[in-house]
Assembly symmetry: C2
Homo-oligomer: 450 residues x 2
């Protein structure tokens, strides 16, 4: 009976496909001739954009995996390909890049990513990593900042000091996600080097976000016509530090109570909803204090610990990480593909962009080798730690993206050319790390007393 029905369905499909295909073709043709949207439901163009973005992201991630690279690289390149389709005469994808809702979904994606990355560490982990990680982190922030500033001053002498500071800041933060993923793929995530690298990368992120807040605040003040005053710098720095430590202290104090109360709420999905409310509320608090919303999302992730959810897991809910992961799998690729679409491929032909990209990449790689100076008194492979700190992933792109939206005296701080140079730096540092780290860890293993 069932087989008969299936066969009947198979036969019917041939008959039914004809009008379907005809209707689809007619509608598609009709739409290309009409400039006004014929969709009654405004969700239609958004779901089309999401379908294209997710398909491109997964294909790109697969190709990246084939050549031994992290998936994020493939998503970026897929975005570059979609965004550059207009060079080949297909201008249609430009609509996706300009869609406001897709832009907000991408921004929600990066919030969820930083929240997820924050969930991987706890506030106690950060306090516990101690002196080596802190020294490694500070050196790994100061050296790239200075080198990036220098590279910008050298190649862009006409630009203001704000551009130099912003490019320096863009080089500071190590990508926790990429570093952790590479160490995991190599089965080395529990090695002493891995602990120092991951601890320093976490501190790096926080320092980078503080620097971003300070530089961004200075630029915003300059744009209002105020001069660069020490009081202003102090205020921005104070606000950033107060928010981070205040949010962490408040969160650590309050979150057990909040989740304790929430765990008494009945209904499915309470754990996920409470965690998202916590993340979104801290992101909003960060934004009203003048920080990037991602700072709040990251702080929310750091604050939340498994122990807060014991009551939920005991009653049969999944772990929070498992619940957040599908949301990040849905929204995070939107961010990276849209980032890739914003890369101006035509700018790659300009010698100044390639020159800046080369110098920024060299500054990014050499700068992080300063980290190895901070490793002392322990039998650790310094070269591996320096290489492990090299990848600049999402945070560098986020900085560059924020720079696209900042203006001083009517001029954008980061223009398409500079943005493309930053993206090239991110792509090269991200691509170079997996093979380089694999090589240096293997070398260290052969010389256990080096």
């Amino acid at each position: 009976m069932s087989a008969t029905l299936e066969r009947a369905l198979g036969l019917r499909s041939l008959l039914l496909l004809a009008p379907l295909v005809a209707a689809l073709t007619t509608n598609a043709l009709a739409q290309t001739h009409e400039s006004t949207a014929t969709h009654a439901d405004p969700v239609a163009p958004v779901v089309l954009a999401l379908a294209i973005i997710l398909a491109a992201a997964k294909l790109g991630g697969h190709v990246a995996g084939l050549i031994g690279q992290p998936a994020v690289l493939g998503e970026l390149v897929a975005g570059v390909a979609l965004g550059s389709a207009d060079l080949a005469g297909v201008g249609w994808f430009q609509a996706i890049e300009r869609d406001q809702t897709v832009d907000i979904l991408a921004r929600l994606g990066v919030l969820i990513l930083l929240f997820e990355v924050g969930l991987e560490s706890t506030v106690r982990d950060m306090l516990r990593v101690g002196l080596p990680s802190l020294l490694v982190a500070i050196l790994g922030v100061a050296a790239p900042f200075a080198l990036g500033w220098g590279a910008s001053a050298l190649l862009l002498p006409d630009r203001s000091v704000y551009v130099h500071a912003f490019l320096g800041a863009t080089l500071t933060a190590t990508s926790v996600g990429i570093t952790a993923r590479v160490l995991q793929d190599l089965g080395r995530s529990q090695s002493p080097e891995a602990r120092v690298i991951l601890g320093a990368a976490v501190i790096d992120d926080v320092l980078g976000l503080v620097i971003l807040a300070v530089v961004g605040g200075i630029i915003a003040a300059a744009n209002r016509g105020d001069s660069l005053s020490y009081a202003e710098v102090g205020l921005v720095l104070g606000k950033a530090v107060a928010f981070l430590f205040g949010a962490l202290a408040l969160g650590v104090t309050l979150s057990p109570t909040v989740f304790g109360v929430a765990s008494r709420l009945s209904g499915r999905g309470v754990l996920l909803a409470t965690a998202l409310v916590f993340c979104f509320a801290l992101a909003y608090l960060a934004s009203i204090i003048g920080l990037a919303p991602i700072v709040g999302a990251y702080a929310a992730g750091l604050i939340l610990e498994d122990v807060h959810f014991r009551d939920f897991v005991n009653r049969g809910e999944q772990q929070l990480e498992d619940l957040v992961h599908p949301i990040s799998a849905f929204l995070v690729p939107v961010f990276f593909v849209i980032m890739g679409m914003r890369v101006d491929l035509a700018a790659f032909g300009r010698m100044d962009v390639l020159g800046l990209a080369t110098l920024l990449t060299v500054a990014a790689i050499i700068g992080k080798q300063a980290c190895s100076v901070g490793v002392f008194g322990q039998k650790l492979d310094r070269l591996s730690i320096g290489i492990g700190m090299v990848p600049r992933g999402e945070v560098g792109l986020i900085f560059a993206n924020i720079g696209l939206g900042l203006t001083v005296a009517g001029q954008r701080v980061i223009d398409e050319g500079i943005f493309s140079a930053v993206v090239i730096m991110v792509i090269v540092t991200t691509m170079a790390t997996p093979p380089a780290l694999k090589w240096s860890l293997a070398r260290a293993a052969r010389q256990p007393d080096a």
Copy 2:
């Protein structure tokens, strides 16, 4: 050492909270005096709205659970409360209701919900339920449609025939989600009555969506100034049926191949991404053919079966339902809370609204009792089947929401008053079902040969 650090953090929190609280208060006060947004990041108002919506949804769901009602009811009522805050002088929440991105997120939410509901059944399930479910479904659609039309013609004699048809259509579709959830809660989801109810509810949804497509198409034609021609009705009906069967046939034929190819892609999250691309693509196809995007999402859910994902699950990915659930837990409450916010509480004071709501509710309940006529030749409890078909949940609200956006000759088909009457009908049928079904199943169990 760790304890010392924690104590230090505790002490520090007191010192650090002061500037944080001061800064937050100052910023919040400053913002209420500035009409222009001070957020550099456009995601900030969206995350604030999402935090409020999710918190309200979960509190509402909890309260609903306390009084033995499904969570969806609590989410609706929470939305009504937020939306009515302006009556109490707090007009601030109106910004959430008007936010375009939140509206799109709500629409994505209902897409994901229908996709999820579709995943619970397969195309084969639908073909297998056979004659009793089909008869029950057709009677359960025809009777409420006729009674709804009659109620509308009786109480709204001045309105056009389109309003009557639309209100009739709004009464047709049983809420699969609520029915299934109630049967599950009562531990009766494997009973013969449950199979007939669920099978009929699935067919109901499809019939309801076809009716919506036909009525919506007729109204759109009338709005363009065309008269109501039989050819037009035939075309809309043909397109709807062709899409549903064409998409189902095409999907059943192609999806094993699509997922077979996708399962060869490396990288995390490929299963979820492929399923979402499938859902979004069918939703978009439905919209370009003139159907509601949810029809495509539901068809996508029906088509996808566990067997397509065997390769993914074998390599360690979670089941698709587990991956989709967190996304629906995030986005679906946005839909119901926003629906609730659109309820005009002031309209409840109008006698015509209450009269229409009462008559629609009676039509909805009595109409579904016609289902029991379709149950014959089997030892089934007819009353329980009739009661099980009563709840009108998301689909009725979706219809009403679509009606808010349809106009004929410049006048909206569904105005705030009629919308509020539909929402009252949904609330009453949803609330009445759990206790009534519990009672009737217990009664039948006491009389096994009834």
